[in-house]
């Protein structure tokens, strides 16, 4: 079992709430993703057992939703928004700055497996651009100084 007891309990709780079990696919994927950091065939199978829906239906939904990473990544997933409002305030230069700082390109992971850098579309933080999301957390109104601080804090926490 990959999913912890806590995760299974959360998924079962959702089963109680929803009118139909199939609706629990997305909530279950969310629980799994939060716990594991990605979802894959083994996880689809476990979810399918818990909610009693064929594995293929879980997989079908999972592959549609891009937020759920399909393979392991660094401990911290840095997601920089490169959509219009952020781009107007220097998102491209922000991405370049992080690439240089971490010595990786978009899509890559640092050697210590700590950081993975990706670009994402608008995250609903346009009036506090430029911004990035690291794992679940938003970091808004970014400056070089702030980025330095954030990455340093994460590194020392790891």
């Amino acid at each position: 079992m990959i999913l912890t007891e806590e995760s299974v309990r959360k998924i079962k709780e959702k089963l109680q709430q929803y009118p139909q079990p199939k609706s629990v696919i997305l909530p279950a994927l969310t629980v799994a993703y939060r716990q594991v950091g990605y979802v894959d065939a083994d996880i689809y199978r476990e979810i399918s057992h818990i909610i009693n829906i064929p594995t293929v239906e879980v997989a079908e939904a999972a592959t549609f939703y891009t937020m759920f990473a399909k393979k392991p990544r660094g401990k911290y997933l840095i997601q920089v928004c490169h959509n219009i409002s952020c781009a107007l305030l220097g998102a491209d230069s922000l991405i370049g700055y992080i690439e240089e700082k971490l010595g990786i390109k978009i899509g890559e992971t640092t050697e210590d497996n700590l950081f993975t850098l990706v670009t994402v579309e608008c995250l609903g933080s346009c009036a506090t651009a430029p911004m990035m999301q690291i794992n679940q957390d938003y970091y808004e109104k970014l400056t070089k100084e702030k980025v330095d601080q954030i990455l340093e804090d994460l590194r020392s926490k790891a």
């Binding site: 937020m67 230069s93 009036a127």
Partner: protein
């Protein structure tokens, strides 16, 4: 303090007896049910339960002139009235908190700072349509908003605003906070319903409309966060009061998300009909263009709406005026860019987004956005060929009006508007293999 440092005009709203949505959004205690109640929260909900018939609630909202704040501007009360009165099936209400239209960041403020206002609006709407199980669909990336809503929901149950036999009325109502998986298309109401059902978030062909056959094939109403948050104010102050706000056909107030090259980006609640120019330049709102540069263009209603040039911004922000001015109110996301912005550079970002978000159900949208992206990337990279501008136009024409859901149109209408407004710049790109204006925004 607050999760997001975004600027609001709560101070102005607190002084006004017309603006109302943002009154308490700078009060960190407002998220707690006790504070919300102290500020008059759940009074409308109790009033509805004690004194009003569902049909009276629908009538009141109809008379208020409230129109959907999610993009299409459909009259809210009228939509509710489409739910069949005699259907034996359960009915559902889904609050649309997908908020993914580039430029839009308003619903988030309400979820993070005044979540009970949304729950109260959802409850009243549920009562009006005879729904006992309501949902809020929050985009997956907004984990913090989902946490806020979960917390508020728990408190609402504890204080007897949700659950069984609410405030002794005999009315039962449950709520589910549902989070998505990062797909813009799930903001489209039929995709949203598929997504709650555990399906891929593809749009459904209409009819049937959700009000007749929606979630689990039952009558369903989908409304935007801001639309629903407006409802308690209508109940408290009356339809007549609400109707007196804004313009004759665009009633009430609306939150505008102002972003891009302005000095003071933020979320501002103003009455509909407010001047776009004032929103951008006034010291209490946008405060003018970054670096005092010259304005080049504005996208007035989110990335899916046609662009405006500086000579077009002396315009009122309401549904009718913007259509007359060649664009749309959309989600109320005003994106501003100054003279150092290449128009092809802007469009390259938008088309990448729409191609990425196309659900793939219909060929014109799936294939068309892919071709457009390739072609526009080529032009932007300086490898455009004679005739490419016409080709962009032709592909746009093949998408426009030929798709299952409005995403296809949303992708091409902004492009077509720039071909009209800045055609010389597109052509320059092809003739000279580079931008007419150097675009390089530094982040400091």
């Amino acid at each position: 303090m607050f999760y997001s440092p975004v600027r609001t005009n709560a101070a102005e709203v607190a002084q006004s007896n017309r603006l109302h949505l943002f009154r308490y959004v700078e009060d960190p205690e407002q998220v707690k049910v006790e504070k919300f109640e102290e500020h008059g929260g759940y009074v409308a909900w109790k009033k509805v339960l004690a004194e009003m018939e569902p049909s009276q609630v629908i009538e009141e909202v109809k008379n208020s002139g409230l129109r959907g704040r999610g993009g299409a501007g459909f009259p809210t009360g009228l939509k509710w009235s489409f739910v069949p009165k005699d259907s034996p099936k359960p009915r559902y209400l889904c609050c649309n908190a997908d908020e993914s239209e580039p430029g839009t960041c308003k619903d988030r403020v309400l979820m993070e700072r005044d979540p009970h206002a949304i729950i109260e609006g959802m409850a009243i709407a549920s009562y009006a349509i005879g729904c006992h199980q309501m949902f809020i669909y929050i985009r997956g990336e907004f984990a913090h908003c989902a946490d806020c809503m979960e917390k508020a929901m728990k408190e609402a149950y504890e204080h007897g605003h949700l659950g069984k036999n609410i405030h002794g009325s005999g009315f039962d109502l449950d709520m589910i906070v549902h989070t998505g998986g990062g797909a813009y298309i799930c903001g489209e109401e039929t995709s949203l319903l598929n997504s709650i059902e555990g399906e891929r978030g593809m749009s459904r062909i209409r009819p049937p409309f959700p009000a007749i056959e929606g979630l689990y094939s039952c009558p369903t109403i989908v409304n935007n966060v801001e639309s629903l948050a407006s409802v308690p104010h209508i109940i408290n102050h009356g339809a007549g009061w609400y109707k007196s706000l804004g313009t004759e056909k665009s009633c009430g107030s609306k939150i505008f998300s102002l972003s891009g090259h302005v000095k003071q980006p933020g979320n501002y609640e103003v009455e509909l009909g407010f001047s776009l120019k004032k929103l951008i330049y006034d010291k209490d709102y946008g405060g003018g263009i970054l670096g005092d540069k010259k304005l080049k263009g504005v996208i007035p209603g989110g990335s899916s709406t046609p662009f405006l040039t500086p000579d077009m911004i002396d315009i009122k922000l309401d549904y009718e005026s913007l259509v007359e001015g060649g664009s749309m109110l959309g989600s109320g996301a005003v994106i501003v860019f100054h003279e150092d912005t290449c128009i092809v550079w802007v469009i390259k970002r938008l088309i990448r987004f729409y191609r990425h978000e196309s659900c793939g159900k219909c060929t014109p949208c799936r294939e068309g956005t892919a071709w457009l992206e390739e072609l526009i990337n080529r032009i932007e990279a300086g490898r455009g060929k004679p005739g490419d501008v016409e080709k962009v136009e032709e592909i746009c024409g093949n998408i426009l009006g030929h798709t299952v859901c409005p995403l296809g149109d949303a992708a091409v209408m902004p492009i077509l508007s720039t071909l009209k407004l800045w055609r010389d710049e597109w052509q320059y790109h092809i003739d000279h293999g580079k931008c007419m204006v150097k675009t390089d925004f530094e982040f400091k």
